[in-house]
Amino acid sequence: MTQAELRLCSLLLQEHFGEIVEKVGNSLLRTGPRPLRLLVGDTGLLPDQVKKALCVLIQHNLVRYEVQPRGSVEYEARSERILRILRYPRYIYTAKTLYGDPGELLVEELLLHGHLPMSSAVARVANRLTETMEDGKTMDYSEVSNTFVRLADTHFIQRCPTAPESPRNTKAPPPPAPTLAIAEKDMYTVPRLSLHGKGKRRHSCDEDEEREHKAKKQKQEGGNSETPPDDGIYWQVNLERFHQHFRDQALVSAVASRMDQVCVAPTSIPTLELSSSHSNPCFFFPPIQTSSEVVRTMLRMSEVTTASGASHTQPLSSNEIFRALPAGYNIGKQVLDQYLALLADDPLEFVGKSGDSGGGTYSVNLHKALVSLATATLESIVEERFGSRCARIFRLLLRKKHLEQKQVEDFAMIPAKEAKDMLYRMLSENLVSLQEIPKTPDHAPSRTFYLYTVNVMAAARMLLHRCYKSVANLMERRQHEMRENKRLLEKSQRVEAILASMQATGAEAAQLHEVEEMITGPERQQLENLKRNVNKIDASENQVDETIFVLESFIESTMKRP
């Protein structure tokens, strides 16, 4: 765990869960797994506070526990999971694009609460949706639970490991902590529940009455109907699946930007660069963005069959792909074959041909795709930071692997002095490294080759570390800005509250205006500035997180290969 990761983890915990949880998480991250009493001693907090914090962390899957052979329970923080908190908005947005509002809210509720049983998740989401609908309409539970089932079928949510059944005769003392386990086949099976009901809307006027009614009813009913039918079955968001989806998205857009035409006016005839090499006697206008569509189809077919860390998808035959193309696509089988051949021949090697049965079997080479994406990210970073000539040298080194100083100048067609300067700058930033090749056993400097090279893995790790640092800096700056303007923010909140209450009780425009005047012009300006800055910082954090995702996926995929 690097310092940058530790700092970022503690900032994330502090922002989302408060100081106490941050202290506990910090202690666990810095000193490793430990039992409860050592933790209490380390953090200096009260034992009850530490217990509370641990409950919160375990609820959200940020800390796991293990029963040691001696009988004590050790807690361990999961740093990579804590860093995922940064990506929550992306998960929720993806769920929205795929499954609409119910999907979005389901994923949001599951992320906010860590894990939930299906019944309560569905109930919450239905209530929230009902509140946004017009008066008189309510959201039915069935629609929400349909979306839930669909999310489970496509593996976006999964069941949490369950506690073992308690034995009937408790002769032996129960273990200090349950060992949770789940079978692979059970992970996505939705329990058969008959959830009936409609979302409830909360009216502000009769809110209190409603609550009193509900509470009274509960007390009278007793415990008969309070254990919901899916007791003990909890669901959590399957982050790996979302990551797969992001990776597929990135792949498809890479193929699209490389092979498909960029923009097509609806009236113009699309001139595909691809069709120029194949003579097509019949005049037809193929649909746009076919190659990315083909790749998207292939990825969609392999969604559930490919393991998360696999380097290739399962081989798919051309016939299968043809059958699986979306309904609206009416390209001929021949055209599809041409596209597949082209994709397989492309130097980027996203798609590889693995055989000839079934009209040619193709598979998507996921590892290569991630390598290209990461390399493209590196190149783009060099370009933005150092300029396009530096980027040219960098790309040259990536292609040719090892080059001498003189060769760099020649191939890049850059004058010697400038080339030297750029190389040294990149060397000082550790993007480029020197490789010594001695000619003689005594490594004499005059008889040694010095070659420049780019070590992609090391450069990716270095940049990832920098990304973590950047996000941590951004968060600190944002918190600083909010702290500086705290007084002003509180004042504006109070004014808004007053305005709202006055509007509710029906005040005149003059009175409202008078209240609005309580915030002066310069203060308004300051608030505007603050809002703009905070928005910019937040958007930057989201942006850096996308880079983090690409680099992390690349590193993970490279480490997994045997």
Binding site: P89, Y93, E226, Y450, A539, Q543
Partner: protein, 215 residues
């Protein structure tokens, strides 16, 4: 042999300088004598952030998420700090939840036993036996909490003494902890809490100052 050559000739290095590209007589940059500056000057401006609908939506989601997480019971707030002097109004203020309470009810079957917080109770016998509930939705808990507080106030008017009570089942814990909170601060008062006005509210004064003489 080791010290030979040191100091002779400017900038002698262990490797062949020409091979790396520094020719004879080329001006080398001056040596750095201090750590690099904390905020190095930006040579080129960063590219603008990608805007667009997706970016805006995710931005709004992020801020919304932050705000929502603060309001959830998972955001652990430290207990109210003890003031240096006990003030009279402390008795009448509804304090924040103490450190002993967990405001949400986790499934204790999935957690290690040592994490369960046991709170000592100071209460008299309850009128209606509470049924153990494993999971309560958050809003239901608030409802119950409010209802309990109202009930307690009614009970206290008649109660005079407090008793120690044994520890009870887990299911009753969260509700009793909340009552415990109310209890601790409402000891031995004959006054109904909601009628106390500590003068900070907005709006016109209430009408219950008929006792005082109006000057």
């Amino acid at each position: 042999m080791a010290g030979r050559g040191r100091g002779r000739g400017r900038g002698q290095m262990t490797f062949n300088v020409e091979a790396v590209g520094i020719g004879k007589g080329d001006a080398l940059p001056p040596p750095t004598l201090q750590p690099s500056p904390l905020f190095p000057a930006l040579e080129r401006r960063a590219a603008p952030l990608p805007g667009g609908e997706e970016g805006e939506y995710m931005l709004a989601l992020k801020q919304e998420l932050r705000r929502a997480m603060r309001g959830l019971p998972y955001f652990v707030k430290p207990g109210a700090p003890r003031r240096d002097i006990e003030r009279y109004s402390d008795k009448y203020q509804l304090s924040s939840p103490t450190d002993n309470a967990i405001d949400w009810s986790p499934d204790w079957r999935r957690l290690p036993r040592e994490l369960k917080i046991r709170v000592r109770r100071l209460r008299k016998g309850r009128t209606a036996p509470l049924v153990p509930k494993q999971r309560l939705a958050l809003d239901k808990e608030e409802t119950i909490k409010k209802l309990e507080s109202l009930e307690k106030k009614e009970e206290e008017v008649t109660s005079e003494e407090e008793e120690e009570k044994e520890e009870e089942e887990e299911g009753k814990e969260e509700e009793e902890e909340e009552e415990y909170d109310e209890e601790e601060h409402e000891e031995e008062t004959d006054y109904v809490l909601s009628y106390f006005d500590n003068g900070e509210s907005f709006g016109p004064d209430s009408d219950d100052n008929g006792d005082e003489a109006v000057y």
